[in-house]
Amino acid sequence: MNDRLIKALTGQPVDCVPMWLMRQAGRYLPEYRAIRAKIDFNTLIKTPSLCCEVALQPLARFDLDAAIVFSDILTIPDAMGLGLYFTAGEGPCFERPIQNAADIAALGVPDMYTDLGYVSEAVATLVAALKGRIPVIGFSGSPWTLATYMVEGKSSRHFERIKSLLFNEPATLHRLLELLTESVKQYLQAQINAGAKVVMLFDSWGGVLDTDNYRSCSLAYMRDIVHDLKQSVLSQHVPIILFTKGGGGWLTDIADTNCHAIGVDWTVNLGTARQQIGHAAALQGNLDPVALYAKPATIKQLVKQMFESLGDKTGYVFNLGHGILPATPPEHVSVLVEAVKRYGQVTQTARETGHVKQQT
């Protein structure tokens, strides 16, 4: 297996910085749009064979170091009975959002086999199709991020409903977060059991919180999940990436959870991030997805600058700072991959130095 990703996430030396892209399987690919023209998103994510086909599409075009299971972060609330649907303009929505404490009391942890088995099946199908060529990444939304969608009912601008709940009835919100935390633990474990070699928590909306509430409502629960996965024999070897969008100010707090790697968005300077956390965790990110609209020469230049800013390449995974955008020309992704393979090379000496650092 190409194990660059796992090595980088665990701080081991690599010959070249590994890369994958958030939403690498998605609308920017014409072959993905061709499938979506026939099948709605909800059916797609619930059909493991199609999830597998879609997840493989970018790998046929680009030399990437990981595949990610094709799914959505909102599968857990959907399995809890909130009724997930997608609209063209607004993105994901729930038919029955959480309104009050009674709604939360009525919720239970979904059964990972009967209710969410399609996600594990999608992982297992993808793992089998790849025949061990590259690792498969499993993922979940963070408890806080899932809670925002469940309470708001859809994407939100000011998060008024969930923040009202937070400020007026904190105990109620924490009950919801606890339930989601237990669900996410089981959900990630299920994906690991199905063959995922790396897992990632997408905390898309952690960045909308103030520092104290970020720590208590988002980070504390992610910390609990990291701790739990590290306790189990079945998952303790699986690297965990935490990605709080807009979380650049809290990197040392995030590293303190004992996660293996931190995802960073483009507002963070990689060199500064490294200075802050040292090698306590690996870093993953962080090119602005819009930069892929730029001319090829500019893309190359930006990649070069990122590596210069980063310095030591040990414990680093190249990615974008957020999901790849639908209007991205696929040829520009080829340019990006080529540039990362070029500037991300690690010399023999650097590899040995990296190794010494790892041992001390």
């Binding site: 942890v109 059964d111 990972m112 086999y113 009967t114 209710d115 088995g117 594990s120 099946e121 297992a124 793992v127 089998a128 025949k131 061990g132 089981q186 959900y187 474990q189 299920a190 059991n193 199905a194 063959g195 306790q231 189990s232 024999v233 079945l234 070897h237």
Partner: protein, 398 residues
């Protein structure tokens, strides 16, 4: 199959193997070494991946995903064996008169000789209640993939059966952090193979080292689903057990349906003689589907000996090579508390022997000696387990 040269038909008609488990592939390798020319076709209902079945009960603790247990896929095996491998293909009938097998959509395939290596399937016990929902069993790689997904979110698992598979899975799951209860109608684990004193010690050790809760001498009377993934088991001693799922490991049933329908003699398995020949001189069987000279056992080691004998007979075109098993050691894959045993075999009915047991702080050596004090079988546990080779040598040299 080209049929424009009918006179050469019989030469180009393949040896056909039904099944791509360990029996099918181990035999195919042994035979192909001796006969590089005769065409070979393997028909299998799964994907034809070659994997080590004994690993299924220990893969979890070794951090192996189901796909990492695959040693070679069907294409690689076809290449290595110079064989045609028909995957995802169900054989529906054997036509002995015409020397053909029929599969899925009515297509037929001629065979020169036919080898049945179609395995066994988990024995399905019939229990009142929500059995289907609660129950899972693992007998091949496909089952194992499902099992790994099935385990997710579960904390307390009941295992039915305390044979090799039941005991190994109990150990594996408990070490992986699950709460495990074993429900068995036997008095102690491995009761078919080892004496009570050894079995009781094994039970006691796995309880204290791994926390396994043994419910012995009981049968499962019913299963009631409380809600999804939450079941109440009713046991014959009137006690109850609340678990998240039930793994059935109560034993196997040989797949004999094809053989029976073709009119071959079957009992517990397809009946074959010491040359592995069935009641039809052009059909042979080995592995979990075969009852060899009155003996039906689902172990790995015999497959190697059977494969060698059958390969020789098929190449020589006779049935002269006869099977003779040497003493064989079976190792229970319970790393926390290892146990190895060799089932006593006495050459004549009137011979007798007895168990002599040495025990030192949780470790045991049980030797079965005949009236002439010759070693005939043994059980070694814990720190004694590594002595199995020395003891095996003593048996074979005498």
């Amino acid at each position: 199959m080209s049929n424009n040269k009918p006179e050469n038909m019989s030469e180009r008609t393949p040896l056909v193997i039904i099944g791509s488990g360990l029996a099918g592939y181990i035999f195919a390798k042994a035979w192909r070494r001796a006969d590089p020319y005769t065409p070979l076709t393997i028909v299998t209902k799964d994907d034809g991946a070659f994997y080590s079945k004994p690993m299924l009960s220990v893969a979890m603790l070794q951090n192996k995903t189901p796909d990492e247990l695959v040693i070679a896929d069907a294409a690689t095996m076809a290449d290595e064996l110079s064989a045609t491998i028909l995957t995802q293909t169900n054989v529906t009938a054997i036509n002995r008169k015409q020397h053909t097998i029929q599969y899925d959509n009515g297509q037929t395939l001629s065979y020169k000789k036919l080898v049945l290596a179609c395995g066994a399937k988990p024995y399905q016990i019939e229990i009142a209640g929500d059995t289907q929902q609660a129950m899972c069993s693992v007998n091949n790689l496909g089952d194992y993939r499902q099992f790994r997904i099935w385990l997710s979110g579960k904390k307390h698992i009941a295992i039915l059966g305390s044979g090799l598979a039941g005991t190994e899975f109990a150990h594996e799951l408990s070490k992986a952090g699950f709460q495990v209860s074993v429900v068995s109608l036997d008095p102690h684990p491995l009761s078919r193979f080892i004496p009570a004193k050894s079995g009781q010690l094994l039970q006691q050790q796995l309880h204290s080292l791994c926390g396994i809760d043994w419910r012995m001498n009981v049968t499962l009377k019913g299963i009631e689903a409380q809600k999804a993934g939450d079941f109440q088991l009713l046991l014959s001693d009137q006690s109850n057990l609340r678990v998240d799922g039930v793994l059935s490991a109560v034993g196997l049933r040989a797949n004999t349906r094809l053989a029976e329908q073709a009119g071959l003699k079957t009992n517990k398995g397809v009946i074959v003689d010491k040359g592995l020949m069935s009641s039809d001189p052009d059909i042979y069987a080995l592995g979990d589907c075969a009852e060899v000279d009155g003996d039906w056992c689902c172990f790995i080691a015999p497959i190697h000996y059977c494969s060698e004998v059958l390969a020789k007979n098929l190449v020589a075109g006779n049935n002269l090579e006869r099977l003779h098993y040497p003493a064989m050691v079976i190792m229970l894959k319970t790393a926390t508390y290892p146990l190895s045993f060799c089932i006593p075999s006495l050459s004549q009915e009137q011979e007798e022997g007895e168990w002599q047991i040495t025990q030192q702080s949780g470790n045991q050596r049980a030797e079965y000696r005949d009236i002439n004090h010759k070693l005939r079988g043994f059980v070694v546990t814990g720190t004694y387990a590594k002595e199995h080779m020395t003891l095996l040598n003593e048996i074979t040299s005498s």
